[in-house]
C-alpha cells in the first residue's frame, strides 16, 4: 500500500492539472542541479492537420541532452555553442545540443503522442523561475508555434497567449 501512495498522489496531480490544449511538459517542476526527463505531450495537430515534425529548442543552461529514439520518426540534434562553459562529470562543455528535431513521422490530429529526451539542469539556472522550452509543431498543413514566453516581470502567460511555450518550474535542489 505504501508503494501505491506516490502513484495515487501522481494520479491526483494529473487529474487536477488544467485540461491541456497545448503542447506541454508532462512533469512541470524540477530541481536545478539534477537530471530531468523532459516528456513533451502533443495532444493534437495544427487546426486539424496531422503533425509531421516537432522541433524543441533547448534553453541555455540545459545540457547533456539525450533524446529517446522514436519508431517511425527520424531524430536529429542541432548542435551549437553555449553562452558559457558548463561542467558535467568533471569535464567542461562549451557546446552541445541546442535543438532536437523529430521528423518523418505522422501523428494524426485525433491521436496523442509523447516526445522524450533526458537532460541535465545546470546549477546556473535560477530556482523559483520558469524555464521555457519553445516548440515548433509542423503539420501537413500549417505550423503551430508554442513559443510564447511571458514578458519580463510578468507571472504566467498573458491573457492573449494562445500558444504558450511549455514551461518548467525550477526549484532549489533539496
Amino acid at each position: 500500500m505504501s508503494k501505491l501512495a506516490p502513484a495515487v498522489i501522481l494520479l491526483v496531480a494529473i487529474a487536477t492539472a488544467p485540461a491541456s490544449a497545448h503542447v506541454t511538459l508532462e512533469k512541470r517542476q524540477a530541481a536545478v542541479g539534477s537530471y530531468y526527463k523532459a516528456v513533451f505531450a502533443v495532444p493534437h495537430g495544427c487546426a486539424g492537420s496531422a503533425t509531421i515534425k516537432l522541433r524543441v529548442q533547448i534553453p541555455e543552461g540545459v545540457i547533456g541532452i539525450k533524446p529517446m529514439p522514436k519508431p517511425g520518426w527520424t531524430l536529429e540534434m542541432v548542435k551549437g555553442k553555449y553562452a558559457t562553459e558548463y561542467e558535467l562529470h568533471g569535464s567542461k562543455l562549451s557546446e552541445g545540443v541546442k535543438e532536437v528535431v523529430w521528423s518523418g513521422g505522422k501523428l494524426a490530429d485525433d491521436n496523442f503522442d509523447e516526445f522524450v529526451f533526458s537532460s541535465y539542469l545546470t546549477q546556473s539556472l535560477k530556482p523559483d523561475t520558469t524555464l521555457y522550452f519553445p516548440v515548433v509543431q509542423e503539420c501537413e498543413q500549417g505550423v503551430s508555434r508554442w513559443i510564447d514566453v511571458p514578458a519580463e516581470g510578468q507571472a504566467g502567460h498573458g491573457e492573449g497567449s494562445k500558444t504558450p511555450a511549455p514551461g518548467l518550474k525550477l526549484i532549489a535542489k533539496p
Binding site: 501505491l4 494529473i14 485540461a19 490544449a21 495532444p43 487546426a47 486539424g48 491521436n111
Partner: protein
C-alpha cells in the same frame, strides 16, 4: 500490487486518450469568407471549426454601428448565425466567443461587407432626408446672404433705409431655423437615425462634433446679430453689428465644407472667407434695391452710385477668390464635365456668367438711367428681379455640393496616414495606417530592433480588436514588400470607430517572436 499498477496504467492511458480531445478549437473557415464583399446580404454566417464547439457569446455589429441580436446555434463543428434581414450596406462584424471541448473559451472576429467596405464609398444619400438637408442648406444661405447681407446694406449703404427689411428679416428667421435644422439633419444622417431621433441628444452632439458644428454656430450668431441690428439700435451701432455679422458669414463658410478643408488651407480658407463676404454684400443689396426700385424711392440714385462704386472691385474679388477654389477642387479640366461635382460647378458658373451679364447691364444701362431720372426704374427692377432668381438658382446648386465629393478628393486623398510608433527595449515598430479611418485601411509595418536597426522577421502578423465594442481579435498575416523591406497588410476593414487594440507579432526566429501592442484610435 501488480493488479493495482495495471489498473493505474489503464486509468492513466484512459486519461491520455481523453486528453486528445482536450484541444482548443480553431476557426478553419467561414461562409461568407472573412473580409469578403458581397453584392447581396447573406441570410446567415457559418463559422466552421476543427471540432465541435458551443457558442457562448455571438455578437453582430452592423455597418451602422448598432449591436444586433442574433440567434446562434451549433451544428456539428459549425456555428450557424442567423442574420437580421435589414443589414445596412457596408462592413458588418461578427464577433464570436465559443467554448471548445476542453472547456476553454476561444474568441475571434470576422468581417464581411455588403456592397462595399464601409468608408470606401459613401452610401448613396437619397430620399426625404437628403432633400431636407439640401433645403436647410439653402435656408442657411438665404439667411447669411439675403439676411445678413441685407442688414449690412441697410446700415452702410442705405443709411438706415428700411426698404426690403421684411425680406432681410424674413431671410434671417428662415436662416436661423434652417441652421438649427441643418445641424439636427446632419446628425440624423451621420448616425443613420430615423427623424424621431431628433428628440435625443445623440444626433445633435454628433453633428456639433463635425466641422459643421462651428460653422453653423458662427452662422447662427451672425444671423442673430444681424436680426438685432434691424431692431434699430442707432446707425452707428448697426454698422458695427452688421460688419461683425458679415465677417461671421465669411468665417462660417471658411469653417466647413469640401472647399475649406482642401489643401492648401492658407489659400482655400481665406479665399472662401472673401468669397462669402463678397457674395453677402452683393446678394444682400438685391432685395433692398428691388424694393426701392419698385417704390421709385428718390434716394435710389445715391444708393445705386454708392453700391456700384464698391460692386465693381467686389466682382473682381468674387472671381479672384472663386477661381483658386475651383482649380483646387476640380484638379483637372475634364472633371468639369465628367464628375457630378464638376457638373454642378459648370451649372453654377453658367448662372454666374448670366448674373455678371445682368450686373454689367445694371451698371452701364440701368444705373445711369436711374441716376438721370429716379422714376425711370423699370429696367433696373426687371434686371434686379432676374438677378434674384439667378441667385436662388445658384444657392440651390451650391447647396447640392453637400452631396458630391470634389474630384480633388478622389484624385489625391488628403488624409494623412495615421502613424503609430511603438517602442520597447526589445523592438521599435513604426506603423502607418492609411487612411486611418473607418473603412478599408492599408497597414505598413516597419520593424526595427530596440536600437533602430532593421529587424529581419520571418513572419509578421497584425491582430486587431476593439474591446470597448466587444469585438474579439481579428488576425491578418502581413506580406513583406519586395522593394521596400516593409511589411504590408492591405484592405483591412476597420468597420467601427473607437480605440482599437493593435498587436503586432514578428517572428524573428522559428522559436522567438517579438510582440508589441498599442492603441489605434480610429475615427
Amino acid at each position: 500490487m501488480a493488479r493495482a499498477l495495471a489498473a493505474l496504467a489503464a486509468l492513466l492511458s484512459a486519461l491520455c486518450i481523453a486528453s486528445t480531445a482536450w484541444a482548443h478549437a480553431t476557426l478553419v473557415s467561414s461562409e461568407p469568407a472573412d473580409g469578403s464583399v458581397l453584392a447581396e446580404p447573406p441570410k446567415m454566417v457559418q463559422l466552421h471549426f476543427n471540432e465541435g464547439v458551443a457558442p457562448a457569446v455571438i455578437g453582430v455589429i452592423d455597418a451602422a454601428g448598432k449591436a444586433r441580436d442574433v440567434a446562434a446555434r451549433a451544428v456539428g463543428q459549425s456555428v450557424l448565425i442567423v442574420l437580421p434581414d435589414d443589414l445596412p450596406q457596408g462592413t458588418q462584424i461578427v464577433s464570436y466567443r465559443v467554448v471548445s471541448q476542453d472547456g476553454h473559451p476561444v474568441a475571434g472576429s470576422m468581417v464581411f461587407s455588403i456592397g462595399a467596405v464601409t468608408g470606401t464609398a459613401p452610401p448613396a444619400k437619397s430620399g426625404p432626408l437628403a432633400i431636407l438637408i439640401w433645403l436647410a442648406r439653402i435656408g442657411v444661405y438665404l439667411g447669411l446672404f439675403v439676411g445678413v447681407g441685407g442688414a449690412f446694406f441697410a446700415a452702410w449703404i442705405g443709411q438706415g433705409l428700411t426698404a426690403g427689411s421684411m425680406i432681410s428679416r424674413g431671410a434671417l428667421v428662415v436662416g436661423l431655423f434652417s441652421a438649427v435644422a441643418s445641424l439636427g439633419l446632419q446628425g440624423l444622417d451621420l448616425l443613420n437615425l430615423p427623424p424621431a431621433g431628433l428628440v435625443t441628444i445623440a444626433p445633435w452632439s454628433a453633428a456639433l462634433a463635425t466641422s459643421l458644428g462651428p460653422s453653423l454656430s458662427i452662422a447662427i450668431v451672425a444671423m442673430a446679430i444681424a436680426l438685432y441690428a434691424w431692431a434699430d439700435p442707432g446707425i452707428g451701432i448697426a454698422r458695427v453689428l452688421t460688419a461683425l455679422a458679415i465677417t461671421g458669414v465669411g468665417l462660417s463658410l471658411a469653417a466647413s465644407g469640401h472647399a475649406a478643408t482642401a489643401p492648401p488651407q492658407w489659400l482655400t480658407r481665406p479665399s472662401l472667407f472673401l468669397h462669402g463676404v463678397a457674395v453677402a454684400y452683393w446678394i444682400g443689396a438685391l432685395a433692398p434695391l428691388a424694393a426701392m426700385a419698385h417704390r421709385r424711392n428718390d434716394d435710389l440714385p445715391r444708393v445705386l452710385r454708392q453700391f456700384s462704386a464698391i460692386a465693381i472691385p467686389l466682382v473682381g474679388l468674387l472671381v479672384l477668390s472663386g477661381l483658386p477654389l475651383s482649380i483646387v477642387q476640380l484638379g483637372s479640366l475634364s472633371a468639369l464635365t465628367e464628375t457630378s461635382y464638376g457638373i454642378l460647378l459648370s451649372i453654377k458658373l453658367a448662372l454666374v456668367i448670366l448674373l455678371l451679364a445682368l450686373a454689367v447691364l445694371n451698371r452701364f444701362v440701368a444705373t445711369p438711367a436711374v441716376v438721370a431720372d429716379y422714376m425711370n426704374t423699370r429696367l433696373l427692377l426687371r434686371s434686379v428681379l432676374s438677378e434674384c432668381v439667378l441667385v436662388i438658382g445658384i444657392l440651390a446648386v451650391v447647396a447640392g455640393w453637400r452631396f458630391t465629393p470634389p474630384p480633388r478628393a478622389s484624385i489625391a486623398p488628403v488624409v494623412t496616414p495615421l502613424s503609430i510608433h511603438i517602442h520597447t527595449d526589445a523592438a521599435m515598430f513604426q506603423v502607418l495606417v492609411s487612411p486611418g479611418r473607418v473603412g478599408a485601411n492599408d497597414f505598413v509595418l516597419q520593424l526595427m530592433t530596440g536600437d533602430a536597426a532593421l529587424l529581419t522577421a520571418k513572419e509578421a502578423t497584425l491582430i486587431l480588436s476593439l474591446p470597448e465594442r466587444g469585438i474579439e481579435p481579428m488576425e491578418r498575416r502581413a506580406t513583406l514588400g519586395p522593394d521596400d523591406g516593409y511589411w504590408h497588410v492591405r484592405g483591412v476593414a476597420l468597420p467601427q470607430p473607437g480605440r482599437w487594440r493593435m498587436r503586432i507579432e514578428a517572428l524573428v526566429t522559428d522559436f522567438q517572436k517579438v510582440t508589441l501592442e498599442d492603441e489605434l484610435p480610429v475615427q
